[in-house]
Symmetry: D2
Subunit: 320 residues, 4 copies
């Protein structure tokens, strides 16, 4: 192993820069050269990169976003795209590639690995926390805290106006973000795509709460559950309460990473370089049972990560 | 003057609690009793209040929302509503009333003042900053900083993905919030209801920026300008850039007040009690030319506060 | 099991209120009554408590500190103190006791358990993270993030003035807080009591960094390493660099808990009530290998929790 | 006017970068070239500078510190230093100089202005807010909010432990920061160098509060009042209360500037360039009576800015 590439792909997540920094510095300590490919897969396709040195990654640890930039790149997923990327990696004598991203990025990485002999290691970084093979992804803790801080503020208005707020959080098709956020803000109701919840059940909870003297409430809904606007309207019409919808936006994807997202980024990067220096590839690194470990890339791509429904049950008790 | 009432009305704003605390404690120092009417005008209509003492307002200085709660109350604005409120004030021997709120609350206060002999002083508290007679309202600085913090985060994603973001901020029909936020986040374009801006002009700026090498951008739009979703779509279709819409929600109305919102709350409350102790009423207090002052309630209600368009001009130069 | 007590003892930690809320609500769901003893062991000694109901613990989830208050109570540790506390618990028909605190509190709990038949479960909550039997304590993540946020700010001044900053963080006699904070702020040097580090080694690192062009630096030092003022002076005198000392204070112990501290509080409380309802006592709950578990109280008290020195090694590479 | 210089000098303050950006971009809009001298006066002495263009100041608006760096430079204040700086300015055809800093920087600027014919305009930026000629300096609002946020956290511990905290804030020899911070955190006692306060009076207030049931308290003390460690000890010994000292450190000088600090930076820079383009120099810009204005540099240097003692009086009433 002499030279490795690193790329950030798909949606950005807070801590990606911490991961880039850690990859560059740990690789340097093992005498690897590091090339940073820019704009996600596009950089591999178009052979756009910059060398990353310990000094060039200074001062980025605490920054949101990614200094390598990222993009969606549909051409990459076509046969010619993959082949072109493989050619460019060979052209630059890149022996190993670290892919920092989420499921979509790892699927691309899997296809690329089939086309080229170079070793590929995935570093899971996405606010959605939906990657099989790791209990937590880089950026998840930051996004959770960003959402929690915002909902704590919305709670002020909810109480003052005695209103119900439906708060939509991100998470794509999954409920990891909504569940942790909902539990930690003390949401009266948490709606995730993994568990169908009839509108009647929601209405019933609101009425029970009202009977107990709880005149305001927070419903945290994953974006994956469908039309939250319609839901808010239905609740308002049925209960007669004032109901407002608040869609937490892209701020969930940015901001300075929390300590935990920075720590995971450092630990994951360390493991990724360790794997590459042992000539192991086609794996993603992860946190499992409190330890840094790795699983096969293909297994990660083909397995759905389960949502811990015990947390949902606990959240319901806590919101009594 | 023996006994005064205090009420928070209309939309909540961070710093209302700081104002309630200051009213209660300053009034106490002048040997006034203070009654806190609950849920806005509804509390006056229904005669629901609690005594406020220096101790009972302890620990609320830094809290968002309002411990007196607030509501919209359409019945109040009818003749019988006003009359009922006046009766309740008389019944409780209330000689003076401090109304903490925005334009809508002050219009209600004006009508009430015509029906009753008691002295009314308005304390401007709204994140919209649209009250004539004061350069700044309680809560405005907090809302600005909340929006700025969120947009700083969105900027991370904008740069990483080389996207344009349209960010909608609150402000009802006016552009005060959008203008200050836009200038202080360095928005490439600021859209306020006070200045019509053709979509073509926006497209032109984006294209100029792109030519200069600025591949991402933030457009801050006041909610009062109309359909931001349509705008985002038009920009995407015309420029071919990736465009995303983010609507900053109710978090702008909550949260711990900034030091400045707390300071204004204290100074305004002090002036309000000073006016009442001098038997002056039917005024709102405010900050003008750097000093705490007051204007007639009626004048405040009937005059539109001008937006400083020089700031918009400056913002455009700064976003070069 | 009919009635349980809960007490917060020792230094406060963010998330204690989240734990109190969770204990009260989960206990309620199992038909237990809950008494909250006030001011730590003092409340048990003096029989001062208040009933905790699902409603009375509403609105505290996000608050720092502890609504039950806490104190140091030297009398408790004497024989008569323990006996008096045991009497009061019996007097109130308390069958189980949840002790929320750190090592000192658990030592008290151990002594109490020897004097009384009631079941005691410890819930580890301390910013020091020095409790054997759990990988993480309630409040640790919050304190880490508070320190990181402050040091990110100090870094601004360090770079602008090209200065070295020695930043002292809390942690009593241990280095858990300093190590995680140091790694996640990218400190050039991390000093913990567990690893002796000669001043010469520190000076050497600073000189190497200076040779590489790093003109500023952050040294994160645990309070347990000794006199940081002297250290700062020595570095200044030897290297000729401008060196400043900043002692991060009690803000590390307060503030709204992070999502993770709230989550741990909820999970730990849940486990504690589960143990009590199974008539198991004299244990502390904890997070081990990613799972919520428990260990014997006595073992926790008598075993020193090891510091992960691999993290220190990694931090040094990352600060290259 | 063809070419202007800009320098940041003395202690750094949040918003200096916002001011540099605004100076560069507004100057550009008037066809001026801008040179940024590095490391404060040292850069003028040693002729180290970089050209600032609209693009090169992109992305710095929200950053703490100063990209031009700053330093203390005792040589500058000697005759030869001033002369050398004047020569370098002439050598580079610099017609005007914008000095961003506080009183110390302005005294240097005054001496320089006597040695050279070029026009000098001061832009007040210091967290101490002690510059005559402006009601507020760039960075003051940020530092106030940083301190307030920290003290809000310390309050959690104060209440939980029923302790008195003496919190020392910055401000050099003056009490502007301590006064605004103390009022907005609701400090029970505020100590500023401008008002001598006997220890007996402080003890009396604490005992009165204790009699009223206030068992915890915050004493905000400016660093300029002298030995706060001794004060804390005296209070503890006399009252028997638990007293802790917390010295808020350099975090007060860093961090992302608040919206207000950014706004002031933009408005001040705009006025500075306006003055230079009108060939007016030897003035500092400022905020007075709510308007952006300017005063003579010499007058600013030779006049002490008064502290508003009415605020102290109000704070005492509010802390009842």
């Amino acid at each position: 192993m002499k030279r490795i590439g690193v790329v950030t792909s798909g949606g950005d997540a807070p801590g990606m820069n911490a991961a880039i920094r850690a990859v560059a510095r740990i690789a340097y300590s093992k005498n690897f050269q590091v090339l940073g490919f820019e704009r996600g897969w596009k950089g591999l396709l178009m052979n756009i990169f910059k060398p990353l040195t310990p000094r060039s990654v200074g001062g980025i640890l605490q920054l949101g976003g990614t200094i390598l930039r990222t993009s969606r790149c549909p051409q990459f997923r076509k046969r010619e795209g993959i082949r072109k990327a493989a050619e460019n990696l060979a052209l630059n004598n890149v022996d190993g590639l670290v892919v920092i991203g989420g499921n979509g990025s790892f699927e691309g990485a899997l296809e690329l690995s089939k086309e080229t002999g170079i070793l590929i290691v995935g570093v899971p970084a996405t606010i959605d926390n939906d990657v099989f093979g790791t209990d937590e992804t880089i950026g998840f803790d930051t996004a959770v805290n960003t959402a929690v801080t915002e909902i704590d503020k919305i709670r002020d208005t909810a109480i003052s106006h005695e209103r119900i707020f439906v708060v939509e959080v991100m998470g794509r098709t999954r409920g990891f973000l909504a569940l942790t956020v909902g539990l930690t803000v003390g949401a009266e109701v948490i709606l995730v795509p993994e568990v169908k919840c009839k509108t009647e059940s929601i209405l019933e909870i609101i009425k029970e709460n009202s009977a107990k003297g709880k005149r305001s409430g927070i419903i945290v809904a994953a974006e994956g559950i469908g039309d939250t606007r319609k839901l808010a309207k239905e609740i308002e019409e049925d209960t007669g309460a004032e109901v407002r919808l608040s869609i937490l936006g892209y701020a969930q994807r940015g901001g300075n990473p929390t300590a935990r997202s920075r720590l995971l980024a450092s630990l994951f990067a360390n493991k990724a370089i360790e794997l590459l220096s042992e000539k192991k590839g086609n794996r993603i690194v992860g946190l499992q049972k409190g330890r840094i470990t790795s699983v096969e890339l293909e297994k990660s791509c083909n397995t759905e990560k389960p949502l811990d429904l015990n947390l949902l049950w606990l959240a319901n008790i806590l919101a009594t």
